[in-house]
Subunit: 332 residues, 2 copies
């Protein structure tokens, strides 16, 4: 059951998060027909979670008045590490107790549909490429700027996964030698500087020497409550500390993007989450610093853009996984 049905007009998507599940039915243009959400309750174990997904799928199909034969297959966006060939999920940090879960096989058995499992960063990359800011480009790098910094890479019009589905770990490029400790065990990774918690940490450190900063006022007087969002809000009000943090963030991000551009020369880099909320406040200085990191001839050919799908990216990520499977593996 590994071939998706090219003639079926609709796509089923499962977004498996640590706290919530979403099951979505959409057409091939990413128009959502029906969506069902439930809490994950991962502590019930993988069998129970998959049973819930199956139940949600049946509910979504009934609500959309569709049967299995109308669906090309099911795309799954899930935390990695996982093996896209076998569809086995290996102990994602956000799904405690999931170890070697044969997600693809379980879903195929229960739904009688071909299933394709992709890690969430790659699935979001596919979504932005199929339906969002990366549409129409052959070479795209997608980056999340969230609790962590992850990524997905489209080269020559195909998702590049690497030999064991671990390509795209853009957050663990070293940006500052002997820089801050990163969750991965290294120092000075892009993630240790520019993830949401890292931006907040740098801001808290700076705010301690500037008690009058809006950073503290906007955090209700408690420096420990400063977040990346506080930083962006205070920077919009021209708070000097916050603007320094934004500038530093842009500089670190541009160093990382410069490495990517020099090595891969993508046509577009699409950045999600924090950058979407920050908008030009962060995007403009990133572009300015990136210009210094790359040759003019190369800089002129690369765009840096905010992700286009916003909060919808999770729903469309799973849909993009099955859309991609139809295009590359489908039988008619």
């Amino acid at each position: 059951m590994s071939q998706p049905d090219r003639n079926a007009p609709y796509l089923l998507g499962h977004d498996v998060g640590g706290t919530k599940l979403a099951v979505v039915i959409a057409d091939r243009n990413g128009n959502i027909l029906h969506k069902v959400r439930r809490p994950t309750e991962a502590d019930r174990g993988p069998e129970a979670v998959v049973a819930t997904l199956v139940d949600m799928s049946r509910e979504a199909m009934a609500r959309a008045c569709l049967s299995s034969s109308d669906l090309a297959g099911v795309g799954v966006s899930c935390g990695g590490p996982l093996d896209t060939e076998t569809g086995v999920v290996y102990a994602p940090p956000n799904l405690p107790g999931w170890d070697e879960v044969p997600l693809k096989a379980w879903l195929e058995d229960a739904l009688s549909l071909p299933a394709f499992v992709e890690n969430d960063a790659n699935a979001c990359a596919l979504a932005e490429w199929s339906f969002g800011a990366g549409r129409g480009f052959r070479h795209m790098v997608y980056m999340t700027m969230s609790t962590g910094i992850g990524g997905g890479i489209i080269l020559d019009g195909r998702l590049y996964r690497g030999p064991n589905d671990t390509a795209g770990e853009v957050g663990h490029m070293t940006i500052v030698e002997n820089g801050p400790a990163c969750g991965c065990g290294k120092r000075g990774c892009l993630e240790s500087l520019c993830s949401g918690p890292s931006i907040a940490r740098r801001a808290r450190e700076k705010a301690q020497a500037a008690p009058d900063s809006l950073l503290i006022a906007f955090a209700g007087g408690d420096p420990d409550r400063i977040t990346a969002e506080t930083v962006m809000d205070a920077a919009r009000k021209n708070d000097p500390c916050a603007r320094q943090i934004v500038d530093e963030t842009a500089r670190y991000m541009a160093t990382g993007l410069g490495n990517i551009v020099n090595v891969l020369n993508p046509e577009i880099i699409v950045i999600g989450t924090i950058l979407v909320k920050a908008g030009d406040l962060l995007l403009e200085p990133i572009r300015d610093y990136l210009r210094r990191e790359t040759w003019e001839r190369v800089y002129d050919t690369v765009r840096v853009e905010a992700a286009g799908l916003g909060d919808e990216v999770g729903d469309l990520a799973a849909i993009a996984v099955i859309k991609q499977a139809v295009q590359t593996e489908g039988s008619s």
Copy 2:
């Protein structure tokens, strides 16, 4: 005349360097039948250089008792920037006066053979992948460590060129924030730390504080004559200064390789030139530092190896270009 002839058993290669030209005839396994060398004399202008290449080709064919119909086509390895689609060369730094030279068209007209032009770093990557240390791998990154640091990338069994033939500039990843000035205009690029001249510069700086170092003795008493080779020779004799430079070089290289591994997760990284000469002296500490730069699961899947072709890489680079063209574009 853009399709190479898949049935022709032999391949013609042109290696166009700033100081010398080589024309090579080989079979598809990279066995060289005949080779002709002449000085480039680039100041004679591109037309004269191409006339020489044509003349050398005829000589090589006559010596090997072959006619055009025995040859699948001609592969050209040349300094970039160039456009592989049109085969036009744009002002390579090592070929002054060459600007918008339609190298492919000129060679096809003169030789009545399809021609394929590739920049030299990509051509060397293809050579190592086809005939050298990268044989049999689907995902390979090749790096030169020479006057500059360049690279070529094979992903999913194909050369990845990027949208305008400028992918693979691994030498211009930023390794040290505000590090030494690089020829590209940036600071702290891998090339500014680990190219031959950069290794020599770091060694000279260190030697100035250590007049008893073997670095100076091995350079005939003149610190200005210290080269990367001097450093490796002195390190082999356990000179402390030289060993520090080797260790630093390995650390910077591993940071760059770590970025590549995190983003692309290749199966093998093949490093040429200085690393080939230095061997395990440099390779072992690079591997050790790389282990700290990557997750264990990823580190365990990537090999770092010295290039396998040695001085022959230039000759086989051009041959690998036409071999690749036969495989991806050939008509039978």
